[in-house]
Symmetry: C2
Subunit: 224 residues, 2 copies
């Protein structure tokens, strides 16, 4: 266990931006775990509850990988996560699902968006950290259940489909808004992302790719 | 996916009592996951929240082993769990922690009691099922955190210690009461346990061993 001071010094050495990215990813996993576990309680069937609980537990598997990696860098995971607790909690509070289907769409869309974003930046990170991020992402994929359930519900009701399509669009908007707020408050992170994407045109292209992949996910859910 | 009818037929072949034990263990894991995830939210620190979330996720790891095993026996896990949802939910509702320390004691004591019970019966189960139960139990052990936190709180306040000692005793009582209710409603399960323990004297000895191990856990928590 290092002190906050020693942690800060090491964080400087490995690049504050990498630690920020690992920190926001880690708190993303921990808060997603919390929300998925809560949403699992509203499942209409025991199978649904088990499926969402398994998705929640997978987040903790990722969390532990990040914890071990950050610890190797001399940074306690709590320190790395701390700046991102408020913005991510705000994201979740402002996108609290009002139904089981909204929960499934949020789990699926949120997981996918986060994975896309980290896949984009993994290549810009120092060797072992970039590899870790790839590994954390590669392990996702408990999404077949969500696809099946949401598609079935959309096929059965056009009204359900339209509402969930709006919900999916809103989730993307809220996620992008929160991500921009986070970056605006972290200078090193902003510099890292702009230089990684080459320039502001690169950032615009990155956002378009995220939107395009989001659109593909909506199609897979039957929400096109 | 087999139907309820096919599942029941296969369950008959492998012994209804084994399936019952796997079912109650599985729902024990799923409901413990749910409660630990809820309790994690009340953690006073981010480290505490992460520690309890990791304990919750470990339950799902066990759940998935049981799901795969039951599926190999031709029994959907939902069918095996169904009879035990109400009694286990009742146990959790009647032992809802009112504080973070009560949550930690419950997680620790509940995990330990369940492990002790299944260790007793694992030897009575058919080969591969007994081995699976041993494997599920061997994987526990995220308990150092709970021991450390509870011991520190007890060392700091005698009142806290006395209240938690009462809480620990109550948890044992509620668990034994619920277990007896479950067995009373399942004839095959009752026969299996009585014949496994040789006779009613064997049952009394088993209960004494559970109580004795519970006492050792209380000592480890500083609650002797």
């Amino acid at each position: 266990m290092v002190t906050a001071h020693a942690g800060d010094a090491d964080a400087g050495a490995v690049g504050r931006a990498s630690v920020d990215l690992l920190g926001v990813l880690a708190y993303g996993e921990l808060s997603a775990f919390d929300r998925l576990a809560e949403d699992a309680r509203t499942a209409p069937t025991l199978s649904g509850r088990a499926a969402l609980s398994v998705m929640a537990a997978a987040e903790i598997g990722h969390f532990r990988l990040l914890e071990a990696h950050l610890s190797g860098l001399g940074v306690p995971i709590e320190h790395a996560m701390a700046p991102f607790v408020a913005p991510l909690d705000f994201y979740h509070a402002s996108t609290a699902p009002r139904s089981w289907l909204e929960s499934l769409v949020k789990a699926y869309v949120g997981d996918g968006l986060a994975a896309d974003f980290y896949r984009e930046v993994a290549g810009w990170l120092p060797g072992s950290t970039g590899e870790l991020v790839q590994r954390v992402l590669a392990d996702t994929g408990h999404s077949a259940f969500a696809e099946r359930e949401v598609r079935a519900a959309c096929a059965a009701s056009r009204q359900v489909r339209d509402r969930l399509a709006l919900w999916g669009r809103r989730l993307l908007g809220e996620a992008v808004t929160q991500a921009q707020r986070i970056v605006a408050e972290r200078d090193e992170l902003a510099d890292f992302i702009v230089s990684g994407a080459a320039d502001l045109t690169g950032i615009a292209a990155l956002l378009r790719r995220l939107q395009s992949n989001h659109g593909k996910r909506m199609v897979k859910l039957g929400l096109s």
